[in-house]
Amino acid sequence: MILPQHKLEGGRKQVYHMKAILEIQDLHVSYRSSGSGLCPALTGVSFGLMPGEIMGVLGESGSGKSTLAGSLVRLLPANARITRGAVQFEGTDLLRANADELRQIRSRRISLIFQEPSTMRVGEQVRQVLAAHDSLGKGALNEQTRQVFDQVFPEEADRISHSYPHQLSGGQRQRVLIAQAIACGPSVVIADEPTASLDPTTQMEILGVFRNLREKLGLAMIFITHNPALLCGFADRVLVLYAGKVAECGSAETVLASPRHPYTKALFHSIPTVFDRPGNTRKTKLPAILGDSARSLPIRGCPFEPRCTERMDTCKEREPRRVNLSASHTVSCFKYES
């Protein structure tokens, strides 16, 4: 469904005259745990993904970032409950779609990049994705598989497609997973920490592959990571998740260069910057965020309050509203409420 403009969140409608391809509205997800009832993982997450846009979702463990990825394609653990919200995609609310509708959408329209390939020859893995979703003859299937491999391994598509995963490097395996994800020509790809286990040189290479696919195929992407530096020069927009809530959201330049939420600021400060700050002598202490996100969640008020260095009395009492700092930059913090 194409959403009418007035349904889009706050300020974004002034900036983006395009229509969101994927619209997440007030998403609430909880996990049922033995004994303690429902444990919230995502609370009121809303954002829209524009066609061809790379949305960087920044969050640490326990922020709900993997739950977000799983909710969008409805692949969540059995004890997860989506309690509220909608995910609008091409006229369907994914949260209310039945199994058949979901099968039509997964891989073909929205696909998820997994962390590790299975143990079959990698060409066969991509073939099976194609065979499961499109009814192609044998010849067409092989041809299609080759074309997909050409996209991610321009030089050695043939050799790689006959290899087993253990014969490939980490970077090559990651490319195979990308090949699986793009095989059926989706318009949205969701990647959950796709480069976390790779070394920096290979990480850069994989980000290059993603950018290239965006240019060539117009893919929109939700790129989930805990490392803000990876989003620099890669993402178009950045959404910061803290304890299942959106702390801050805006264009990548704005959020990465001048973050406003105390959590985003503190997170960026905790990264060693010996390169950029020549005066920063080594072995000085890094300004770490004190405490532990999962273990210090308050019952009410702002979730970051116990660890926040800029907290005020109000922060304990109620939750901050989302404030529009500019047409494209929102932050949930009392410092900016007036």
């Binding site: 973050p259 950029d276 999962a294």
Partner: protein
């Protein structure tokens, strides 16, 4: 070798590695025996109380080096000297005295800590194996270890699986410190943690170096963290150290192409000036 000005000229190195070679036998696809040279003549020296960072891409031989130093692998050739004694040539009995002094911390504390044990058992094991402490002494040491790494004493009954990633890595550090080692080998010990937790653990490492005079061999592919923690950086490529020197110098004037490539690949958060001044 150049050493920090704070170290006396006649100080003995804690660790001296000379021409270390590790060869693995493997078979090619056709089945013919082949050799893989994981370490190809590695030499370096580490002085007490300092940090040497070993950086390089995956497959450059960093972890093989760690395994050889921790006596988990035996090198094909070359020698490792710890406090002036050659490790490989020691008798069983002497080697039992040396080995506790070199401890290894791995990337993933979730898989290096026994999930069926309590925190108490994890910390008590190395002390019990030494057979020289009484029960009271073990208890006392455990509570001082927990305090040292910033863990609350309330968690002793819990299993490592009930701890957060940062708490687990603190526990792994506490276990490594239990036998009062002189050298800690940190093999990608921060890489699996969230950024804010990395900063906490990095601070803990700096603190322990200050209070206990620990020596670290910090193995990582994160050059930014290496530069933050290390006195010296050694850059590895295909089993060799291609460049080694003071951390600041390697960062500012890299001489080798490998180093320049590694530096160029570090993802950086380029912050606007106003934020830097805060």
């Amino acid at each position: 070798m150049k050493v920090e000005a704070t170290i006396g000229k006649n100080m003995q190195p804690l660790l001296r590695v000379e021409n270390l070679v590790k060869r693995y036998a493997k078979r090619s696809l056709a089945g013919t025996p082949e050799e893989f040279l994981a370490l190809d003549g590695v030499s370096f020296t580490v002085f007490p109380g300092t940090t040497l960072a070993v950086v390089g891409e995956s497959g450059s031989g960093k972890s093989t080096l760690a395994a050889c130093l921790a006596c988990l692998e035996s090198p094909t050739a070359g020698s490792i000297w710890f406090e002036g004694r050659e490790i490989a040539k020691l008798e069983e009995r002497a080697s039992r005295q040396i080995r506790p002094q070199i401890q290894l911390i791995f990337q993933d504390p979730a898989s290096s800590l026994n999930p069926r044990w309590s925190v108490m058992e994890v910390l008590a094991e190395p002390l019990i194996l030494q057979r020289k402490f009484t029960r009271e002494e073990i208890d006392r040491r455990i509570s001082s270890l927990l305090e040292r790494v910033g863990l609350s004493p309330d968690i002793v009954e819990r299993s490592p699986t009930e701890l957060s990633g940062g708490q687990r890595q603190r526990l792994a550090i506490a276990r490594a410190l239990a036998l009062e080692p002189k050298l800690l080998i940190l093999d990608e010990a921060l890489s699996a943690l969230d950024c804010s937790v990395q900063a906490q653990i990095a601070n803990l490492l700096v603190e322990l170096q200050g209070s206990l005079g620990m020596t670290y061999l910090f193995i990582t592919h994160d050059l930014a963290m290496a530069a933050h923690l290390a006195d010296e950086i050694a850059v590895m490529d295909r089993g060799r150290i291609v460049e080694q020197g003071q951390a600041q110098k390697i960062l500012k004037q890299p001489e080798q192409e490998t180093t320049r490539q590694l530096l160029a690949a570090v993802p950086r958060l380029t912050l606007a000036p106003p934020l830097l001044e805060q």
